[in-house]
Amino acid sequence: MATARKLLKYKPSKFDYKKNLRARNISQKIAFGIIWLCAAIAVAALIAIVGYVLINGLPAVNLEFITTRPAGGVSGEGGMSTTIVTTIYLVIITTVIAAPLGVLAAVYIVEYAEETETGGSFIFAIVKYARIGVEILAGVPSIVFGLFGFIVFVSRLKLNFSLLSAGLSGACLVLPVIIRTTEEAVMAVPRSYREGSLALGTTKWQTISGVVLPAATPGIVTGIVLSIGRVIAETAIFWVTLGGSYRLPRDIMSSGRTMALHVYSLASETRAFDKALGTSAILIIIIVALNLAINLSSRQFAKKFSGK
C-alpha cells in the first residue's frame, strides 16, 4: 500500500515534443552545415592546388619547353625533354620487372596456397605467410625503399645510380599493388570457369593460363596502370637510387631524372618556379589521364564480360 501511494505521487513532467524536435532539427542543420563545410574545404583544397598549378604552369608549357633539355645548374633554364624520356624508361623497366613477378605471385597465393593445408612440405607452408609479406611491403615508406635500393643495388651490387637500380627499387615498391589487385581479379573469376576447364581434362596450369588469367586480365591491367601512376608520382625512392643527372640516359646503367625529381630540383635548387609549375602541370595532366583511363576501361571490360 505504501509503495502504491508512492507511485501515485509520481507525476510525469510535461514533455514538449515539438520543442525537442525543433531543437534536434536545428542541431542537425548546424552539424550538417559543418560537415558540408569540411567536405567543401577538402575539395576546395584540391581544386586550389590543381587549379593553381594548371593555371600558372600551363603558360610555361610550350613545344620548346617540352623539347628542350634542362640546362642544369642554378639557372633552371631549359626544358624538360630528357625528364619525360627518363620517366618513360623508368616506368617500363619497373613494370617489366614487377608485373610478371606480381601476377605469378598472386596466382600462387590464390590458386595453390590452399593445398598447403593438406600436409604440404615445409616450403609450401612458408608461403602461407606470403600474404603477410605483401601487407608489410605495402606499408613500408618510400624513403626506406630508397635506402634499401641505395644499399643493395647502388652500393653492394655496384649498379650505381642508374635506371636499373631505380627500376629494381621501384619494382619492390609497386609489387604489393600488383599482387593485391591481381589477387582480387583472380578471386573474382567464378569457380564455374575453373570447374568447366578441369572437367575437360586440362592440367591446373592450363586452366589458369587459358581461362582464369584471361578472364582476370582487366583487373590485372588496372593494377598495372595503378602501379604506373605510382612510379610517376614517386620521388623519395628515386632521389636516392637514380641520381640527378639532367642528361638523357644512354643505356640502362645511366643516371637520369624523372619529371617529379625535376620539379623537386627546380624548386629547391633554382628560382625557376615557372618551369617547376610547368613540369607539375604536365605531371597532373598525365595522372588525370591515367585515372580516367582506369575508370573508363573498367567500365568497358565489365560490359564485354557480360556478353552483350
Partner: protein, 260 residues
C-alpha cells in the same frame, strides 16, 4: 542391392563411401552402370546425387576435406590409378548452370583439344564443326563462330557446353541436372540431344525431374538420405521396371510423389 545390366558395364562402383571431413555424404554404394545407355540418378534433395556423379571424374578431389573408401572402376580400371587428367578427358561433364568460357564460340570448343596437344588448324576446325553438329547447335551458330559464348541464350549456352565436352572425345558424359536452369522448349531440345548421343557415349544424368528420368533413360538409380544424412542407394534397375514395378517401398513412395 541387385543390379541388372544387359551388356558390358562401363563404370562399376564397389562399396563406395565419401566423407566431407567427418560427415559421411555417401554410404557403401555398389552398382554397375551399363555402356552406351542413359543412366538416370534420382532422389530427394541433398541425398548425394551430385556428389556421387562428381566421383566418376574425381571432381571431388578438388575439395581438400574430402576422402573416400571403396573403389570406382572405368572399364575395369580403378580411376584412382589413372592419371586424373586422362580420366577427365575420358569422362566429361556438363554442369547444371551453363558455364561457357568468356571466349568466342570457336575458342570455347577448341580449348579442350588444344590443351591436349591438337594444334593443326584444319583438324581443329573439323572438331569444332563435328562437336557443334553433334550438339545440334551448328546450324544456329555456324556463321558467327567468333561471337562470344556468353552472348547465346541459356539453351544455346548449354548446348555449347555439351559440344565443348564432346570435343575432347570422351567415352562417358556426366550431366548434373543439365536442363534445370532452362525453359521447357530448351529442355526438350536437350533431351532429344541426349537420346541421340546415347549411341556413341555412355551417359549418366542426375535429374530432379522424374518425368524426364522416366521417358529419357534406360537405367535408373534411386538414392535416398538416411537419418544421419548420409546418402545411400535404395534401388536400381531398368527404368521401366523401377517406374512401373518398384521393389522397395521407399522407391514407390518417391515416385508417386509422397516425399522429396
Amino acid at each position: 542391392m541387385e543390379n541388372k545390366t544387359n551388356g558390358i558395364s562401363k563404370l562399376s562402383v564397389e562399396d563406395y563411401s565419401l566423407y566431407y571431413a567427418d560427415f559421411q555424404a555417401l554410404r557403401d554404394v555398389t552398382i554397375e552402370l551399363p555402356a552406351n545407355k542413359i543412366t538416370a540418378i534420382i532422389g530427394p534433395s541433398g541425398c548425394g546425387k551430385s556428389t556421387f556423379l562428381r566421383s566418376f571424374n574425381r571432381m571431388n578431389d578438388l575439395i581438400p576435406s574430402v576422402h573416400t573408401e571403396g573403389k570406382i572402376e572405368l572399364d575395369a580400371e580403378n580411376i584412382h590409378n589413372v592419371d586424373v587428367v586422362e580420366l577427365r578427358k575420358r569422362v566429361g561433364m556438363v554442369f547444371q548452370r551453363p558455364n561457357p568460357f568468356p571466349k568466342s564460340i570457336y575458342e570455347n570448343i577448341a580449348f579442350g583439344p588444344r590443351a591436349h596437344g591438337v594444334r593443326d588448324k584444319q583438324i581443329l576446325n573439323q572438331i569444332v564443326q563435328t562437336s557443334l553438329k553433334q550438339a545440334v547447335l551448328w546450324d544456329e551458330v555456324k556463321d558467327s563462330l567468333n561471337k562470344s559464348g556468353l552472348a547465346l541464350s541459356g539453351g544455346q549456352q548449354q548446348r555449347l557446353c555439351i559440344a565443348r565436352a564432346l570435343a575432347v572425345e570422351p567415352e562417358v558424359i556426366l550431366m548434373d541436372e543439365p536442363a534445370s536452369a532452362l525453359d521447357p522448349v530448351a529442355t526438350l531440345k536437350i533431351e532429344d540431344l541426349i537420346q541421340q548421343l546415347k549411341e556413341k557415349y555412355t551417359i549418366v544424368i542426375v535429374t530432379h525431374n522424374m518425368q524426364q528420368a522416366a521417358r529419357a533413360s534406360d537405367f535408373t538409380l534411386f538414392f535416398n538420405m538416411a537419418e544421419d544424412r548420409a546418402g545411400y542407394l535404395v534401388e536400381s534397375g531398368n527404368t521401366i521396371d523401377i517406374f512401373t514395378n518398384p521393389k522397395e517401398k521407399l522407391t514407390e513412395q518417391y515416385i508417386s510423389g509422397r516425399f522429396g
